[in-house]
């Protein structure tokens, strides 16, 4: 009898799951709206009689890269809530839905298609490079306007409908080399990079190409891969032996924390120079921030900046999600406002078709000038790449300080 009961119970559970699955897209939309706070809910209710904007966002919400996808989705939500509370875009509220792409090209297409079924008009995403390239080649057929907050590979903006908020990988590598050259930080540079990572190897190549023009000598190049990113002692020893004055570390902060620790224990103390992936190192659990003392990084965003826009965003983000936003969240936040600015300039309304909205927004992006929290006076070239000045920050006494 007991067994029979358990069978019946599991059966009931399976049925209820199936029911959830079939009504999924509808219920998820309402829960995101509900989660976005009470005041927006009332605002949304007031305007719900009319058409609404449908913004989608996608990124890895599960798996190893989930930090970035979650940051993008959360950053987008903060911006959407803010805009809704202030009356929406051209008087229309925004509905928002996110989808998980697991940092996989194929799943990214699935995520994009499911958002399309929901009725998405503008895509704030995808988060990571490979999915952005894959989704871009699909979205161009629908002419659906997409702006990726953080897809940094060159090919991400190849389709006419794709734009980005962050720097492309080559731009970051070249800007880093220029910064080091112009400020005469070092002439002998050693590089350590993740050869299995698109982001890291992309920056590395453009850095080396630009270094020659800046009179920088690359004395040593060391690599690691995603499978061997815990012990860097061999690479660091070689870098130390090469007599480098500056170590360029174009990869993410999780590995950088280990590199800094191991370099410290062997007494290797050059100037460490990172890129935007280094942002977040101070918030890492169990990381001794004194190790990062003097670490320089080029980043478009720092959560400790004291302008009002950044303060406002950081405060709202902390209130909603209880953590300091990383650059990905800030990029996503800016992306929503960029779409808003372009849509307002084109006087768009959400009752137009995806294709019409796409064409109008693409036209506006060419002439748009936008001041955001990840850079002032952003403009976009014909490729859809952003032009903005990176800020160099240096870590002093456990905090980011502008290097200038």
């Amino acid at each position: 009898m007991k067994r029979l009961l358990s069978v019946v119970l599991t059966g009931a559970m399976a049925v209820s799951l199936a029911a959830c699955g079939s009504s999924g897209s509808g219920s998820a939309a309402s829960t995101t709206a509900a989660a976005s706070g009470e005041k927006t809910e009332t605002a949304a209710a007031a305007a719900s009689s009319d058409a609404t904007w449908k913004f989608g966002s996608q990124g890895p919400l599960t798996g190893g890269a989930a930090v970035y996808g979650t940051a993008v989705v959360n950053g987008t939500k903060v911006a959407v809530d803010e805009i809704n509370a202030a009356g929406g875009i051209n008087g229309y509220q925004i509905e928002f839905q996110s989808a998980d792409d697991e940092h996989d090209q194929e799943k990214a297409i699935n995520a994009y298609n499911s958002l399309k079924d929901w009725g998405m008009q503008v895509l704030i995403g995808p988060t990571t490079s490979a999915p952005t390239i894959a989704v871009g080649s699909e979205a161009v057929n629908d002419n659906l306007f997409m702006i990726t907050p953080s897809g940094s590979a060159v090919d991400c903006t190849k389709p006419a409908n794709a734009f980005r908020v962050c720097f492309s990988d080559p731009a970051q590598g070249a800007k880093s080399a220029q910064y080091i050259g112009e400020h005469k930080l070092a002439t002998k540079v050693a590089i350590l990079y993740d050869s299995s990572d698109v982001y890291s190897s992309g920056i590395y190549e453009s850095f080396v190409a630009e270094a020659a023009n800046q009179g920088i000598e690359v004395v040593d190049t060391e690599q690691f891969t995603a499978d061997s990113k815990t012990d860097f002692s061999t690479q660091l020893q070689k870098m130390q032996a090469s007599g480098a004055e500056l170590a360029f570390l174009p990869f993410y902060y999780t590995e950088a924390a280990l590199v800094l620790k191991q370099a410290d224990s062997m007494g290797f103390k050059p100037v460490f120079f990172g890129v935007d992936g280094m942002d977040g190192i101070l918030d890492l659990d169990n990381f001794d921030t004194s190790l990062a003392e003097g670490l320089m990084l080029l980043t478009p965003f720092s959560a400790d900046a004291d302008d009002d826009a950044t303060k406002n965003f950081v405060a709202k983000y902390k209130e909603a999600y209880g953590s300091t936003p990383i650059q990905f969240a800030a990029d996503a936040y800016d992306a929503v406002y960029i779409v808003k600015a372009a849509a307002e300039a084109a006087n768009l309304t959400p009752d137009k078709s995806v294709d019409e909205i796409g064409t109008a927004l693409e036209e506006q992006m060419k002439s748009l000038k936008y001041d955001g929290i990840t850079g002032a006076e952003m403009t976009w070239d014909d490729n859809g790449d952003v032009d903005k000045e990176p800020k160099a920050v240096v870590i002093k006494d456990g905090a980011y300080v502008s290097a200038e």
Partner: protein
């Protein structure tokens, strides 16, 4: 003699059901496509469904028929994907029609994966059971890491290779085709549902015919009792290698479809790592080891399931795992099988009782 004939008829019927299932599914989907009654999500899933079905069929040949546990199937898929995508990129500027180019791409993918299967198979198939599993697992990872480090470009002077970075290619203009970790971008999108189904049917045809041939019986004899098979004069290495190579070739075709379905091809742990190999193994185990039709059904169900669960947002993967466990129990646990049979029996009983009443 009659018994043999009856057995043959049974096999033919079973094979026809398998082909019929695929063709009926194809016709239904085509009708839905023509009438527009299909969501974009499902439309996007059609080619992946074919890819994973092909891979499941291919692995079932090794795991089910040949009885060897291989955990490196994503590696063969990776070989097929990268060789064929390189070919398509090389030829994309030429006047070759897209259909012919893609056909040659499929052949190249299959042949290169078969070649790797053969090379790997020679030393590896001397091992048995767990040892073989570990070595094939390592092979898959080697392929993935090799591709991640490989740079390949072509210019007026010919082809350039490097395992360092793109600067070491010493290119004079020309195009860099494989950019290490950045992989290949801009592969033409030649895969479609019709080609996928045709290739699936071809794969099924090859595997099902192999199983029911003299060769297939030899392979199964080796699986069931190696010593007995050897003692009647079967060449164990030859037959094992044959099954392994054919399986690798079919997996390579799956890779070709994969590469020509997405515009960016990178060897990530997610698509060509051991996770993928395990996923393919799950299709096979779930569908029934040695049951080709079952593995196609399992591949379809398990590929569609996480997409159907999208509505559950954050709980999606959790629930997917629970459903997977329940399905595995339902199809394979002995007590569940008993229950199923008992329920079936009671249905039959009810029917006969009703008939008696009428």
């Amino acid at each position: 003699m009659n018994k043999v004939n009856a057995e043959k008829q049974k096999i033919t019927r079973s094979n026809l059901i398998t082909f019929g299932m695929v063709i009926i599914a194809y016709v239904i989907v085509e009708i839905m496509l023509k009438t527009g009654n299909i969501s974009s999500l499902f439309k996007g899933l059609l080619v992946p469904l074919c890819i994973y079905s092909i891979l499941a069929v291919s692995l079932n040949l090794v795991v089910g028929i040949s009885g060897e546990l291989s955990l490196g199937h994503a590696g063969f898929m990776c070989v097929g994907a990268f060789t064929s995508a390189t070919w398509s990129m090389l030829m994309s500027g030429s006047a070759m029609p897209a259909g012919l180019r893609f056909f040659i791409a499929i052949v190249i993918g299959a042949v290169s994966a078969a070649f790797f299967g053969f090379i790997i198979g020679i030393p590896v198939l001397r091992l048995k059971g767990d040892y073989l599993a570990i070595v094939t697992l390592a092979f898959g990872e080697i392929i993935k890491n090799l591709v991640n480090a490989l740079y390949f470009g072509i210019d007026a002077r010919g082809a350039h290779f490097s395992l360092e970075d793109s600067m070491h290619l010493n290119m004079e203009g020309g195009d860099i085709i494989i950019k290490g970790a950045q992989g290949i971008t801009g592969t033409p999108k030649n895969s479609n549902f019709t080609i996928g189904v045709v290739l699936l049917i071809v794969a099924l045809f090859i595997v099902l015919n192999l199983i029911n041939s003299r060769t297939g019986r030899a392979i199964m004899a080796i699986r069931d009792n190696r010593i007995a098979a050897e003692s009647v004069g079967l060449n164990v290495t030859k037959f094992k290698l044959l099954a392994f190579t054919i399986s690798a070739a079919i997996a390579g075709v799956g890779g070709v479809l994969y590469a020509h379905n997405l515009s960016s091809l990178q060897a990530l742990p997610k698509n060509f790592g051991y996770n993928q190999s395990i996923m393919i193994l799950v299709f096979v185990v779930m569908g029934g080891i040695g049951n080709i039709r079952g593995s196609v059904v399992a591949a379809v169900v398990l590929t569609v399931l996480p997409e159907l669960l999208r509505g559950l947002s954050d709980y999606r993967m959790l629930i997917y795992a629970i459903v997977l466990i329940l399905m595995m129990l339902f199809t394979s646990a002995p007590s569940w099988i008993q229950y199923r049979e008992r329920i079936l029996m009671s249905f039959k009983k009810n029917k006969t009782e009703r008939k008696e009443k009428d």
